[in-house]
């Protein structure tokens, strides 16, 4: 079976030196025995909180980091032994402001990377024009990158990653800091690429993005894969519950504990949004807990109350909590 990406027991340790005299060298296990497979033409999501090991895993796959143990291959090529061949066939796009030459125009940036990736000289102009069109930067390409907004830089990153028509595209948190419209355009572009046959590995911590785009997802937390499957399968882990969301103010630990003690309640979490709290209560399907929870909140201000189906985010929180 010819997989686009195969990770087999990947391990990555970091040694962090503390201080000048290296008195205590801490060892951090960033990626701990990660294995997964991505098929050709698939859009695979690597989901996890900050520091889970997503970026480290991706960097091992794109040959920027050598694995401490384990193996990985992209398009059948080993990432350590055949690094150069791997690099020819993959694209790497990451979010954020860095990674572009500020003093150069977008066009010059693309020319440079086109050269780096061996795009034949006579194809460069056409290809660059095509990509600028695709990401919506036509007409702005002669401006210097230093004047670009975050969204424009992100789009330029994507153009850069696609110059050499990679078979596999790695996107590392591409929509971070992008406005909703921009992010939506990004997702459309990515979906279009997958439809055209490119394999995409996407890391993100935006649940709805993973839910919307990915064929399959692996959830990574604390350096380990804690779950993998299609979004439906993952949601299935929590489908036997319903979720009640209650906006409240000033619910303390005692109140939460009382809510947890209600029969039928699986878990109670709070999310802070400004001054208010959002109480997220998961309860067994069929058990009506709303009244009882509201009783626990007697005396406190209560805002919106909603009952909904569990989402991928709920599944994710569950998975990550147990990691």
């Amino acid at each position: 079976m010819d997989y686009a990406i195969e990770a087999d027991g990947l391990v990555r340790r970091y040694r962090s030196r503390t201080g000048v005299r290296r008195t205590a060298a801490k060892e951090v296990l960033a990626v701990d025995d990660v294995s997964f497979r991505v098929e050709r033409g698939e859009l695979f999501g690597l989901l996890g909180p900050n520091g889970a090991g997503k970026t480290t895993t991706i960097k091992m796959l794109i040959t920027l980091l050598l694995p401490t143990a384990g193996r990985a291959s992209v398009l059948g090529l080993d990432v350590v032994r055949d690094a150069r061949e791997v690099r020819r066939r993959i694209g790497y796009v990451f979010g954020g402001d860095r990674g572009l030459y500020e003093r150069l125009s977008a066009l010059d940036n693309l020319r440079y990377f086109a050269e780096l990736y061996g795009v034949p000289a006579r194809e460069q102009r056409g290809r660059i024009g095509e990509l600028l069109e695709l990401v919506g930067l036509t007409g702005r390409e002669r401006e210097r990158v230093e004047s670009y907004s975050r969204g424009m830089r992100q789009r330029l990153h994507i153009a850069r990653g696609l110059l050499h028509r990679p078979e596999v595209l790695f996107l590392d948190e591409p929509s971070i800091g992008i406005d909703p419209v921009g992010a939506r355009e990004l997702r459309t572009t990515v979906a279009g690429l997958v439809e055209a046959g490119t394999t995409v590995l996407l890391t993100t911590h935006y649940m709805f993005e993973a839910d919307e785009l990915c064929n399959r997802i692996a959830v990574i937390a604390g350096g380990r894969i804690v779950a993998h499957g299609t979004p439906e399968e993952l949601k299935g882990n929590v489908v036997d519950a319903s979720v009640v969301e209650i906006e409240t103010f000033g619910a303390d630990v005692a109140v939460l504990d009382r809510a947890r003690a209600i029969p039928g309640v699986i878990s109670v979490d709070t999310q802070d949004s400004g001054q208010a709290q959002l109480l997220v209560v998961r309860a067994q399907l069929g058990v009506e807990v709303t009244r009882s929870v509201l009783d626990c909140l007697a005396g406190l201000r209560v805002g919106r109350v909603a009952i909904r189906e569990p989402t991928l985010e709920d599944a994710y929180v569950e998975l990550v909590r147990h990691a």
Binding site: G99, E102, R103, L116
Partner: protein
């Protein structure tokens, strides 16, 4: 040849970036002129004719090194800060072929300084710019520029792990002026220094410059300069591969 094209495109774009900083551009030319002026003022007290021309030529070569030494040491660190170092490594192109053009762009700025120094010597001090062998002189200049670029290349690669790289780069400026005998004949330096001088390609480039300017054949010196340059190139290339492998093992490509 795609490698040559890659070096040219990379060099060209680096030049574009460098030309957009007033600091590097103006100062790159002005700074060596301060020293050149001082030197000319010193020389005209006692020297004339050939000695003055020699001083002018030597001072002009000094400018090429000045433009390179400080910037080269922190070149890769600035790529790292911009977040582009990772992208350079992740690309299929050979890493050393991307670093060399960076150094070459610095020495190209140094070329402006070289010309400016010669012109300044002519305009302000009446030192003529008539050379015995103009074509030889141009070739010698090319040899000096390329060999200093190769030294800058080596410097970039060596210094990438040191946070204080800029300090070492700046401190290297004057010692290399002395070691390569741009102005001061090697015979005046302590004997134990000479082997070090002879191992540096620009030393031979400087010999070639003076020969072409004052009478004599520069060609043997140009040849030695280029051969030594090739050695530096090989050394820098090998080191850069080791550097990248080490960075991939210890995850230092992205660290600030």
């Amino acid at each position: 040849m795609t490698s040559l094209r890659l070096i040219l495109v990379a060099w060209w774009l680096q030049m574009k970036m460098r030309s957009r900083s007033a600091f590097e551009g103006v100062l790159g030319v002005l700074w060596p002129l301060f020293f050149a002026t001082t030197i000319f003022l010193m020389y005209r007290q006692s020297a004339s004719g050939a000695a003055l021309i020699g001083a002018s030529v030597g001072a002009s070569a000094m400018g090429v090194w000045s433009a390179t030494s400080t910037t080269a040491s922190s070149a890769l660190q600035s790529e790292r800060r911009q977040g582009t170092l990772e992208l350079l490594v992740a690309a299929p192109a050979s890493f050393p072929m991307l670093v060399f053009p960076i150094a070459l762009s610095m020495t190209t700025v140094g070329l402006y300084s070289l010309v400016a120094t010669l012109l300044w010597g002519r305009v302000a001090f009446g030192i003529p710019i008539t050379f015995h062998d103009p074509f030889g002189f141009v070739c010698a200049v090319a040899a000096v520029v390329i060999s200093i670029a190769l030294m800058g290349f080596l410097e970039s690669v060596l210094m990438v792990r040191y946070r204080a790289a800029w300090a070492i780069g700046t401190a290297l400026e004057l010692p290399v002026w002395l070691l390569c005998g741009f102005l001061v004949p090697l015979t005046l330096l302590p004997a134990w220094v000479r082997p070090i001088s002879w191992a540096l390609p620009p030393t031979w480039g400087a010999y070639a410059l003076r020969a072409a300017a004052l009478g004599g054949s520069p060609w043997l010196d140009v040849l030695v300069c280029m051969l030594l340059g090739a050695v530096f190139a090989a050394l820098a290339t090998a080191l850069s591969h080791r550097l990248v492998d080490s960075a991939r093992t210890h995850a230092t490509l992205a660290l600030q």
